[in-house]
């Protein structure tokens, strides 16, 4: 099919779906009259649509409603869901004012009132945040850093400003938590948590919020800083992987993508996407299923969602939800380094970025590690791949994964070698350093039907495991429950939902375990 044909087809489709304006429609009808071939194709498409539409949706079986209501008895009351990854984050839904999709309505009074309060609070906080930012950067009220620059477009400047504001809000959050007792940190949503494990005392709420990811949207949303009107979706905390596209829409609708900035990043991310896709394909062909991962930073999310606008249609669209979601997650993880080291404070990152301009976060991270190694007088750490077993960036529960080989942790024994190749592939990326991801076994290459990714983020510990065989899953659950008793104060295990609800499943609906461990 020629390019012209492709354009014609799009036009035909628009005509078919009634999306032409009056003038366009008139021109189209004239074109149809003048071009029999075009008319024939249009009628073909019309026939196809008619035939497709003839397949009406099948109504739900009569017994389904009773079955659902019966299952509620075992499902607990409303509001019993913890961090259910299936629950969408509606802050991320684009077009909140778009037409309803059914006989439904909008939330009245209380929701709107809350929204206005959030907007008002957002403006106030943003004002002070901007003042503090300029003061800290030594820029003064005249503008300085930003005033010296000539943004290529208003959109670009606006986007950058938002990112800075976001970082500054995080900085404010950090400052507000500094009054907690030594060794403790304050969650953004309130509440003091204990000292971080493994000697990390700086368990900042900022980092915690940044690393909130799939399946934890409730707390993340609570922790999100106030947002200004129209940006609430973007400033909300990271959401589940499949919400990436939702956020993308918001960005596109309300904040035009600055093209120069996008182009500068596109090549990098496109290459990464293709590489990731290849890796994913290899993993899947070897029997792995797709694993969710944690979105590292809000900035990364923003970047990824913007970039995936380009990638969506061209490189990823045909690959299905799972691969797309995972690619976005991986991209998000990768972008974290580009945007700055997650182990550095936001202010530090800001300062470094402002000074070094084009220097990437990865390069800076390498430099920092090199510098730290020299100061310690030890060997130069690897900047990619194997994470250091000790050090300020690496804390962990040694009972989970043991190094050096042979690994002896209970998870490792349960997961087997199959997890290794997968984790190893992921850990080849330097970007995981800030996550405290432990490599399980760098040499294993065998395959199996399970994937394990262990991450430790300061004082939060998260494991997302996608499992295969049920018997292994049960064994894993048992071991994790033991871990809860012996090593960790809080373990949340999201079991396959049918089992959780004690519903005799006709078939297993799902077989993944999302484990969130927190001290």
């Amino acid at each position: 099919m020629t390019r012209q044909d492709g354009h014609d087809d799009t036009l035909l489709q628009d005509a078919l779906d009634g999306r032409l304006t009056g003038d366009e429609r008139a021109a189209f009808e004239r074109a149809l009259a003048d071009d029999p071939a075009l008319a024939a194709r249009f009628h073909e498409l019309e026939d196809l649509q008619r035939q497709t539409a003839s397949l009406a949706l099948e109504p739900a079986p009569d017994a389904l409603r009773d079955s659902i209501l019966g299952a509620l008895d075992d499902a607990g009351g409303p509001g019993t869901a913890g961090r259910d990854p299936a629950l969408p984050d509606l802050f991320a839904i684009p077009g909140g004012d778009a037409p309803d999709s059914g006989a439904t309505d909008r939330a009245p009074g209380p929701f709107l009132g809350l929204g206005y309060m959030r907007v008002a609070a957002g403006f106030i906080v943003l004002f002070f945040a901007a003042r503090i930012l300029m003061t800290e950067a030594g820029l003064g009220a005249e503008g300085g850093h930003f005033a010296d620059r000539a943004p290529s477009s208003r959109a670009e400047a606006a986007l950058e400003e938002r990112l800075v504001e976001k970082r500054e809000l995080m900085t404010l959050d950090r400052e507000s938590g500094s009054s907690a007792a030594p060794g403790a940190s304050v969650r953004p949503g309130g509440g003091v948590i204990g000292p971080a494990r493994g000697g990390i005392s700086e368990s900042s709420d900022v980092e915690e919020e940044q690393w909130e990811g799939a399946g934890s949207t409730r707390r993340a949303r609570k922790a999100a800083p106030p947002a200004i009107e129209g940006e609430e979706e973007e400033l909300a905390a990271p959401v589940a992987a499949d919400a990436t596209v939702m956020r993308l829409t918001v960005v596109n609708r309300q904040n035009p993508v600055p093209e120069p900035w996008l182009r500068a990043q596109e090549g990098l991310v496109r290459n990464q996407a293709l590489a990731f896709n290849d890796a994913i394909n290899r993993q899947q062909s070897a029997g792995f299923v797709t694993a969710n991962m944690i979105a590292p930073t809000e900035e990364a999310w923003q970047q990824v969602t913007l970039l995936s606008a380009k990638l969506d249609d061209e490189a990823l669209a045909s690959r299905g939800f799972a691969q797309f979601a995972m690619t976005c997650d991986l991209l998000a993880a990768d972008s974290a380094t580009t945007l700055g080291s997650p182990t550095a404070s936001p202010a530090e990152n800001d300062g470094e970025r402002a000074r070094s301009g084009a220097t990437t976060g990865r390069a800076k991270a390498d430099e920092r590690k090199q510098r730290e190694a020299e100061e310690r007088g030890g060997r130069t750490p690897r900047t990619r791949g194997v994470p250091p077993a000790t050090g300020t960036g690496w804390i962990g529960n040694p009972a989970l994964f043991q190094r050096p080989d042979p690994p002896a942790g209970p998870l490792y024994r349960l997961l087997g070698e199959g997890a290794i190749a997968r984790v190893d592939t992921l850990l080849e990326k330097e970007d995981w350093e800030g996550l405290n991801v432990r490599r399980v076994d760098p040499t294993a290459t065998t395959t199996a039907s399970r994937v394990a990714i262990e991450m430790q983020v300061r004082d939060a510990y998260r494991v997302i495991i996608v499992t295969g065989p049920t018997e292994r899953l049960n064994a894993l659950l048992g071991a994790l429950e033991d871990l809860e008793k012996t090593h960790l104060s809080t373990v949340e295990i999201v079991r396959p939902p049918a089992r959780e609800a004690k519903i005799p499943p006709r078939r297993p609906l799902d077989a993944f375990v999302l484990l969130v461990l927190e001290p």
Partner: protein
Amino acid sequence: MAASDLQTDTHLVEQASAGDREAFSELVRRHQDFVYGVIQRLVSDRDRAADLTQETFLRAWRGLHHFSGGAAFSTWLYRIARNVVISGARYDAARPKIRASLDDEDNKVGVGLAAEDEGPGTHAHREETRELVRAAIETLGQEQREVVVLRDLVGKSYEEISELVGVPVGTVRSRLHRARRELKRELERLIEGPDGEHAA
């Protein structure tokens, strides 16, 4: 008209959040056909669609407190259904495929009686064509299949699909375009038969 018919989804959600099962039952009644119908078209398996629909409503019940009212309840519900289907697809990807085939009578959908104004031959041809279209739809990728179902079977507008699926309208348009092109190609292939013979 029952009193519950007069209540908005939002009111029902509020009541259900407070533990009112009747309210939730009404929500199920209102939305089960849409949720089940779309899922059924996405997974091409009635039993599985019923499972996933049940799972969707259970998750919605347990997660009612997450519903902030920022979007229509049906949109929120559809998003849950979508996530449940995706999770199911991931699970399926790791399992040996034991799926209903097109020859499975249980999973044939929409096979009806001849209309009064059409002869048996016409009816048979119509049914045959519908089966071919159904088979062609099943060959589409999930994203493309989803927009075709929402647009052509459910009759949603581009904007509504955009909200439900969470992609820009332009992406809906391009996916639909590609999907229809694929459908056309697949239909031609099915009609021609594997050896290029006319099968329909």
